[in-house]
Structure formats: C-alpha cells, structure tokens
C-alpha cells in the first residue's frame, strides 16, 4: 500500500492542478469549512479536479480537509480549486460546527477548552 502510494506520489504536480493559480487567503475558507454542492449547476466543462470535488460533495456535505484527503492533494491546492467552485456558484461554503438550534453556552465552551488543554 505504502509502496504504491509512494510510486504514485509526484505524478501530478500541484500547479498543473490549479492551472498556476496561487492559493489566496480566501476569507471563510479553512480546512474545516463544510462544502455543500449546488445540484442545479451543470458539471460539464469543469476541470478534472473540480469535477471530482463536485462528485464528492454532491451527495452531501464535506469539509475541505476531507476533500483534500480524497483527492490526495495538498490542502492549499484544494482550497484553490474550492475557491474557484465557490466563485462559480457550484459550491456553497458553510462555517463548521454551527449549532442549528441554539448557540453554545460559555460553560460548554470552557469545558471544551479545558478538554483541549488536557490534550
């Protein structure tokens, strides 16, 4: 497994994937951002990796880092691809961990913080 991964590594260069676009620091896009695909958008004409991102996200929602894991691409490169799809309206970014009903209490956040500090 590792051997075959190793042998595939380096096959695709990141600049070829992004078409030379440098990854910008796009506001609201980080590794945890959830991506929701718009099923109404046509998939034809998309670049290969954009198409794959859409295929991954269409059934539901996926975070940027998960997409990166599936595509086996660096996170920064995936961000460029995702940013392009967000611009074209194919994907809608959604901030992660948003409580649907009520906001987190300060108490809960403190607990989380303490738990994290123990890590």
């Amino acid at each position: 497994m590792t051997a075959s991964r190793h042998r595939r590594a380096g096959m695709i260069r990141s600049y070829a994937v992004t078409g030379g676009d440098a990854p910008g620091t796009r506001a609201g896009l980080d590794a945890a951002t959830l991506l929701v695909a718009d099923p109404g958008r046509p998939l034809t004409g998309l670049a290969a990796q954009s198409r794959r991102v859409m295929d991954l996200c269409l059934p539901g929602a996926l975070s940027v880092s998960e997409v990166a894991a599936h595509l086996q691409l660096p996170g920064a490169i995936v961000k460029v691809i995702v940013a392009g799809l967000v611009d074209s309206g194919h994907l809608a970014p959604r901030a992660p961990f948003v409580p649907a009903a009520s906001p987190y209490s300060a108490d809960f956040l403190m607990k989380v913080l303490k738990a994290l500090e123990k890590l």
Binding site: R13, P23, G24, D55, P59, G75, P99, K111, K118
Partner: protein
Amino acid sequence: MNGSADFTAGVLLASVICSVLLLMVCIVLLAVLLARSRTPERRTRAVTPPVVRPSARTSARPDDQEKAAAERARAAERAQAAEKARQVAEQARESAEQAREAAEKDKEQALQQAGANLQWYNAAVAETGRLVERLNAVADAEVRGYADVAVPGLLHPQFAGTPLSEHVAGAEELLREAVRATRADVSGAARAGVRGMAEEVQMYLARLQMSINEALDQPPGADHHRSLVDMDAHATWALHAVQRLRILAGSWPGVQRADCTFREIVESARGRIPAYDRVDYTYVPDVGERWVEGRVVEPITVALAELLANATSYTGDRVSVYVREVPKGFCVVVDDKGAGLNAFQLAEAERLLSRQTTLDAANLADERKLGFAVIGHLAHDYGFHVDVSAPSPSGGVQASCLVPHHLMSAAPGPAAPRETAPPPAAHAVNAAPAAPAARATTSNGLPKRERQHAVTPVSAQPTQQSITDTRAPEDVAADLGKLSELLGSGLATGRDNDAEGHPQP
C-alpha cells in the same frame, strides 16, 4: 580466359606471318624462273650477231678462232648467269629462312606475352582480394577501434609505383575519410543534442535556485506558496528534460509508477511542460478514471508531455486534450489550432515515430524532431501507438496516442459494486455510514485508494450531524475527555495516529 585469348591471337598472328612469308618465297621462286626463261633469249640474241658477222666475213680461219672465242665467251657468260641465278636463288632461300625464323620468333614472343599477361591478370585479381582485406583491417582499426590491427600492404611488391597501387591506396584513403566524416557528423549531432538538453536543464535549475532565493526572502504566506509552486514547476521541467535525454540515449524513463488513471496521466503530462496553463483537459469521468497499467504509465505520460509540448510550442492558442474510447483501446487526443504539419514535416514525423531512433545524426536537428524521436522510442518499447497524421478539425495537428486494451489495468479493488455503490455516502448528511467494503468503491471510481481505509473511518465520524446540538454538550465533553485519554496514550507510543491520514494543508 583472357590469357588463352591472347594465346590464340599470338598463334593466329604467327600463322599469318608464315603465310605471308610463304607468299614471298613463292614470288621469289617465280622471279627466278622468269629470269631463267629470259636468259636463252639473251643467248640467242647474243648468238645472232656472230651468225650475221661470219656471213659478212670471208676468211674461214679467223672465223673459227673468233667462233671459238665467242663460244668461250658465251660459255663464260652462261656460267656467270648461272652463277648469278644460283646466288639469287640462294639469297631468296636465305631470306625465306630468315623470314621463317622471324615468324618463329614472333610466335614465341606472342606466346610469352600471353603468358605474362595472364600472370599480371592473376596478380591483379589477387591484389584486389588483398584490397578487401586491407579495407577490412582499416574498418577494424578506424571504426571498431580495435587495438593492434595491422593494415596489410601490397600482396605483390612488383605493383609498387604502378597505377594499381595508387588506386588501392586511394580506396583505402577514401574509406578512412568516410569514417572520419561520419564520425564527425554523428558526434557533432549527438553533442548538439546533449548540449541543447543540458542547457534546458541548466536553465530550469537556475530558475529553481532563483525561486528558492525568493522564497527564502519571503515570510510564509501566499507569496511563499507561489515560490514553492515555481520551484516545483522548474524542478519538474528539469526532470522531464533529463528524462528525455536518457530515453533518447536508449534507456527507460527511469520511474516505475503504480497503476494510474488517464486523468492522472493527463494532469501529470500537463505539469511537465512550461505552457501547462494553455492546456485544456476535457475531463469525462467515464474514461478519465480508467486505469492504465503501471508499467506503461510513465512512458505514456512522457510521450503525452512531448505531444503537448509540440502542440503548445507551435501555437499560441489553447490546446485541448481528451481521452476517447475506441475499439482497440483508448485514445488520448491532443488537438491544437496551429498551422499544422506540411507534407515534409509529416513524413519526417512519421519516420521518427515509426521506428526506434536513438541519438544519431538524423534526428537531432531541432526540438520538434527530438520530441518525436522520444515518442517513437517509447512507443516502440512499450507497445502503444502515436499518430500525428490526422488533421485537426481546427486546422492544426491532431495527435493521438492509442493505448491498446492489453496495456489497460482493471480497477483496483472489487470491480462489481463500482457501478452500484453509492457515492462517498459516508459523508452524506443524512445517510448512514456505508460499510467499509462499499466505501472502498465509488460510483465514479473516484476515491479508490487503499489509503482511504485509514482515512474514511475517521472522516466519517465528525459529520455535521454528530457535532450539532442534537447531543448534550456534556456528552461531547465526556467524549473529548475520552479522546484526550486516548490521545495521551497515543502520544506515548507515537504521534502517528494524531492526524490519522488527514493531509496537512
């Protein structure tokens, strides 16, 4: 053959000379006979006056005396004439004898000459045979570079200084000159090719250094990333140039890949040319996710990169690439909108594509030919076919690389549920996590890597649903506490399971 002809000619000559001499002898004999027949006439004429004179004279005594004297004189005359005739006959006989001897001698000489000619002829044939040996020795010494090769001299020393020896030396010199000229030509072309490629590699590596310098000056950020991308690109191009060189020198591409899909091949090939941003890849998941056998992945990628380099270098326009299924296999088609190839360029390209060309004088003239030579070499070695003869619909060249079925590979993992299994269903908001076996295969064959066995179980857990407020925060905190314990124990053994396969951005 010639000698015997000469001999016959000599014999003929001798017989002709003999017959001429016989004729001369006959003429001489005839002359003698004529002279003999004429003498009695003279005698009668000489006799007549005394016959007249006695009739004029009266006294008988003096007449008798005179008669006797005349008789004696006549006898003497006759004797003289006879003597003369005998001498003439003798002379004629002698001259006939001489002529015969001369003819004999001529015949002898002609025979000798014919023998000598035959000897010379045989010697010349042997000398020609020796010439072949000499040329062979020259070839051994000059072309094959064998040490201790002695070039033999003339077989027959008597030829020294004759035109024959000059010609032989001329032939030998001609061979040496041809060897010299060919060697200079080939080494010049090879040098030019190696020089060109070395310059290319050097240029890319120099730019790589510049990018590294830039990156070192910058704080981490977007520009920093930009520099990294530049470095990556320059390193990749330099790598490709070196790879091309070694392929032209008769080696294999030097990299063994695992099975890859056409998408990976096209994107990899695109990254290997400087004008990668002008290449449009029309991705169709059906064919784009077909797997190519690992053995031919790198050769096909290099060949495709060469086709793309050609296409982009001859047009400033965009170049389109797509993969198409054909009865014999799959075609990677590169379409450019350039000027196209003229008949001569096409013939040259097909010549280079159709055979296994290595670094030689014929194919290193320019970059474009170099690319075709690389492709021809790879196609010959690995069994795929490249064709550039079809005109592109847009007027340029349509190059196609046919990958036959036997170079394709089955999709790794179970192939049957590939079509029916749900897409990465584990990540669907409302769907239950799919079984790991089903998760390994996808509808479009997209995330089909072994690596995901490690990734998916983890990424499947923190869906939006599980983290939202459907659970009590206390439970979450308790879970986090457990997690921290687990991680604490994990940290003791090693940090590997921290990310659990998540790529680091």
